[in-house]
Amino acid sequence: MSSRDVSSGVLVAADLSKRVVLVLTSLADGPKHGYALIKDIEQFAGVTLGPGTLYGALARLEDAGLVKALPAQKRRHPYQITAAGTAALTEQLRRDEQITRVGLARIGVQPV
């Protein structure tokens, strides 16, 4: 099954959580609006999100109270990570770090 297969709910959920992590990570160093988020994520992760998927992730994050919209500037709302968002991101990154460490060790690659 390829990672592009959207018929699997598991893969869709995994894919979406990846977007959420990317958005939260981008917001971790300060508020950003949509275009700045896309450019930042493109720079540090090599992934280019589109407007639809970006706002889909932002909608979920805002519903969950992990990000909040700041007052609009030039018709654009900057978004800011909340304390709950920071905690959720921290937990997720630690989990990912552990998996990365174990995976690299098992294939005999030293962490950079």
């Binding site: 959207v6 869709v12 979406l16 949509g34 275009y35 896309i38 280019t48 999100l49 589109g50 407007p51 639809g52 998927t53 970006l54 706002y55 889909g56 932002l58 909608a59 979920r60 018709r75 654009r76 709302h77």
Partner: protein
């Protein structure tokens, strides 16, 4: 992507998302197009993907509920059809096979025979109570003695229909136990029915 196309694709999103993020999304789209960062095809694909993702996230509970209800309904219908158990001939007619004794080779193994005029109950049918025709008796008498085996059907009576005293029509409900789905050999079936017919003639 032209703005009208994007506005049309925006309708794929839930109203709440459109009202909250619609303008921002369109502005971001225009900004990306102005910078030439993303191709039109990719933006169309992304708009559709975003709508699917948002809808699947927000409507997953509703979709799951609907799916469960449909599954339960199908299970109930399937169970009802599989059970198919009714004593009335009309109710069981779609599960019955109308047979004459001369074509017993078509009877599936495990079928339950109910003769014309006999009563029908939910008890296992082990005794043939009808009056066989002359041809039936002749067929039975032509069977070698070694072929005459007792009928051991344990199926359930499903009903009966008659075609007149001169030509009885035996109705067999198709009953296929899960552990015995193979057809009975032709000669054995003929022998079983013939023996039952003979027993009926003797008034047993």
């Amino acid at each position: 992507m032209s703005s009208p196309v994007m506005r049309m694709l925006l309708k794929l999103y839930p109203r709440r998302i459109r009202n909250r993020y619609g303008d921002e999304l369109l502005n971001l789209h225009d900004e990306l197009r102005a910078h030439g960062d993303v191709s039109r095809t990719r933006l169309i694909r992304d708009a559709i993907a975003g709508a699917v993702l948002v809808r699947s996230a927000r409507q997953r509970a509703h979709l799951m509920t609907a799916a469960v209800l449909v599954a339960v309904a199908l299970a109930i219908v399937g169970t009802t059809i599989a059970a198919g158990g009714t004593d009335s001939p009309a109710g069981a007619s779609h599960l019955e096979a109308r047979l004459t004794v001369g074509h017993v080779n078509a009877v599936p193994y495990g079928s339950c025979f109910v003769a014309e005029g006999s009563s029908c109950s939910l008890a296992p049918c082990t005794v043939f109570t009808g009056q066989p025709s002359t041809e039936d008796a002749a067929a039975y008498s032509s069977e070698p003695a070694t072929q005459r085996r007792p009928h051991s059907t344990t199926g359930r009576c499903a009903g009966y229909r008659g075609a007149g005293p001169q030509h009885p029509v035996f109705v067999a409900r198709v009953v296929k136990p899960a552990h015995r789905r193979r057809r009975q050999p032709r000669r054995q079936v003929a022998s079983s029915v013939g023996r039952l017919a003979h027993q009926a003639q003797l008034g047993q």
